[in-house]
């Protein structure tokens, strides 16, 4: 399957992905970089909150909750689990 760059907000729970780039700028970009979201960082969607948003992601060993607006500014490439 051909991988497309999709926003992190569309990653399903349990799926892993690789960060391609951040589309935000200014303060938000700085914040995301501070969390370690640089190119090639692997993230995993862990939990949805009871109302679906925010979602908790495993980022570099820490679990960080992001609202959908923020997650949509992070472009990713899905990583496929072996056997798929």
């Amino acid at each position: 399957m051909e991988d497309k760059y999709i926003p992190l907000s569309s990653l399903s729970i349990g799926e892993k992905a690789r960060v391609i780039k951040l589309t935000s700028d200014g303060l938000m970009r700085r914040r995301l970089l501070d969390l370690g979201l640089i190119k090639n960082t692997v993230v995993e969607a862990l939990h949805k909150s009871p109302f679906g948003d925010p979602v908790a992601y495993l980022i570099r060993g820490a679990v960080i909750a992001l609202r959908s607006e923020v997650a949509s500014m992070i472009l990713i490439e899905k990583l496929h689990v072996e056997g798929e």
Binding site: S24, L27, M28, R30, R31, L32, L33, D34, L35, G36, L46, H47, K48, S49, P50, F51, G52, D53, P54, A56, L58, I59, R60, G61, A62, V63, I64, A65, L66, R67, E69, V70
Partner: protein
């Protein structure tokens, strides 16, 4: 930041950090790092201060410091707020950066978490950009990964050519993942939260019953002895009245009604805090706050408000956007602090659970109390939304919230810290305020203007306004005189009723209810008192704290008015709806 004697009350008004060196040779060491990396553990380990830490990001919002001695030198260790960066995006980051830049520490220790080393090194780099003396302290996770990490560390430490110290910490693992699957799930997330709140209230209420009664009996016995003593020394009756019937009775009320529930509630709540449950609450509730155009971390500041609204207001520093921080500050008062719980519990048990017997009574009581708290949370959201649409217009800012791994609570420490720091402190404040309040009430009751006492005069003056919202002049006066601390509203009310009528011994709630009913209380009065105690002006300490935090008289006045107007409106609507429907 945990609720402690340093973080509540008057101390928080003078938190300017003044470091006093014993000798000029004393070394100052700044201790920084990302949130939740175990910084405070290092701090406590070195200083032995046992500073209590909550398991959620942003608990250290001011600089704390401690001193230790090593090889004949004094080291002053300054615990600066945990941050992801030093770019001064938020108050915490500003505090951290300012101290490293201008506090002139001899050395800055940055604690990093080995489980997310790469992210942590960002802060190390930023620190190295502004100061030259940096020690890197790495928190290691488990044995299995130790070898690999040590290898990496050696390479890293060579590259950064800084010293490396190691201690132990825990990473987010499968266990945490499984627990979060339940605690944050669509089906169970919110119900578990409400259930936990209810269980805490239930344990508090049923556990406090017997000790409360014992204390009241003890105080009553002592009162008899005191009266005999006053008769023996042939003291004038007015002296006995003011000291024993006024001040002593107020004090015994405050202690016997407040001490047992606090001694149970605080440790239980601290336990949840220590486990790391509070960030999950913020995670579960964030969607509501987003819809109110507010920050999800407001749920955390709300939780702190349960202990003390002044502490909750200071806690608002963890919110980056100044618009959202103001919303959190203004609405913090909608969660009842510990001073207001006794009012709610007393009123509910007297007027709303009478038809239940035995254990069901306390379960039902906890249920109603939980409903009141949920109403407070709904008001918080509603008012936040209203503020976002009017005087604090704006879109919700982006926010990131870390969910730290669960940690084993240190039970012994929790009990000691929450009783010493929280319970005794809050009780002490109530007692200190109760004495002058008792005196003022006594003077007001015995100073006559024409035919009636100053107390009756003022209460009568307030009566028409109070009646509009289902209260009476005495109740409104009690809330006004309770401005220094909410803990004393009920004692003031009792003294106010008793000063105009007969004096009654107060051993239990049955007698209290008799006094209230004799003064015209119905279940509607009780309902209005509950609503009004949930929603009225913040206490004096909270107002001063707001003034300090916002640096603005305007926002302090708004913070005073918003809950007050909400309370008057809510009571007015409810009381008149009941009248129209014809329930009374």
């Amino acid at each position: 930041m945990g609720l402690s004697s340093a973080s509540t009350g008057i101390n928080l008004l003078q938190e300017e950090l003044k470091i006093e060196k014993a000798t000029p040779e004393d070394r100052i060491i700044a201790l920084g790092g990302n949130p939740n990396v175990g910084k405070s553990t290092v701090f406590n380990g070195l200083t032995g201060l046992n500073q209590h830490t909550g398991n959620w990001p942003g608990k250290t919002v001011t600089n704390a410091y401690g001193v230790y001695r090593y090889k004949e030198s004094n080291f002053i260790l300054v615990d600066i707020p945990g941050t992801y960066s030093l770019m001064a995006n938020s108050v915490e980051e500003e505090v951290a950066r300012d101290f490293i830049c201008f506090g002139e520490p001899h050395t800055t220790v940055i604690v990093v978490d080995a489980t997310c080393l790469e992210r942590n090194l960002n802060l190390v780099l930023q620190t190295l950009e502004i100061t030259s003396n940096v020690i890197l302290c790495v928190n290691l996770m488990d044995e299995a990964n130790r070898d690999m990490i040590v290898t990496t560390l050696i390479n890293l430490s060579e590259r950064i050519s800084k010293e490396v110290v190691t201690i132990n910490n825990k990473a987010y693992n499968d266990f945490d993942r499984k627990i979060d699957d339940y605690l944050t799930s669509k089906k169970f997330g919110i119900p578990i939260m409400i259930l936990l709140l209810m269980v805490i209230f239930w344990i508090t209420i049923s556990g406090a019953n017997i000790p409360s009664e014992l204390l009241a009996k003890g105080f009553s016995y002592m009162e008899g002895k005191l009266t005999l003593f006053f008769q023996w020394i042939k003291a004038p009756p007015w002296l006995h009245n003011v000291l024993v019937l006024g001040i002593y009775r107020t004090l015994s009320w405050v202690v016997s009604v407040m001490l047992p529930p606090m001694a149970i509630f605080f440790p239980l709540f601290t336990l949840l805090e220590d486990l790391g449950y509070l960030p999950r609450v913020a995670f579960n509730l964030d969607n509501f706050f987003k819809k109110s155009h507010a920050c999800g971390k407001q749920a955390l500041t709300m939780c702190m408000g349960f202990g003390c609204n002044a502490a909750g207001v200071i806690g608002c520093r963890i919110i980056d956007s100044s618009r959202e921080r103001l919303i959190a500050i203004i609405t913090n008062n909608f969660v009842p602090c510990n001073g207001r719980f006794p009012i709610l519990i007393a009123v509910i048990s007297m007027f709303f659970v009478g038809f239940f017997k035995g254990p069901f009574q306390s379960i039902f009581l906890a249920l109603i109390l939980t409903a009141v708290i949920i109403l407070g949370i709904l008001m918080t959201l509603l008012v936040s939304k209203f503020l976002s649409r009017t005087i604090l217009k704006g879109l919700p800012s982006s926010f990131t919230l870390e969910l730290p791994p669960y940690r084993k609570p240190q039970v012994g420490k929790i009990i000691i810290r929450s009783i010493l720091d929280r319970t005794l402190f809050v009780l002490g404040r109530a007692v200190v305020v109760a004495i002058p309040a008792g005196l003022i009430i006594w003077i007001m009751a015995n100073l006559y203007i024409g035919e009636s006492s100053l107390l009756t005069y003022t209460a009568n003056f307030l009566n028409p306004l109070a009646k509009l919202i289902g209260l009476d002049g005495h109740i409104l006066l009690a809330f006004i005189l309770g401005f220094p601390a909410n803990e004393i509203v009920i004692p003031i009310l009792l003294m106010s009723y008793m000063a105009t009528g007969s004096l009654v011994e107060l051993d239990n709630l049955v007698e209290l209810k008799a006094i209230l009913i004799a003064n015209g209380w119905t279940w509607v009065t009780a309902l209005s008192v509950m609503l009004f105690s949930l929603m009225h002006w913040p206490c004096a300490t909270t107002c001063l704290t707001i003034r300090k935090e916002t640096q603005s008289l305007k926002w302090t006045i708004i913070s005073f008015l918003v809950p007050t107007v909400a309370g008057f409106t809510a009571c007015f609507i409810v009381v008149n709806l009941i009248r129209i429907i014809g329930l009374i």
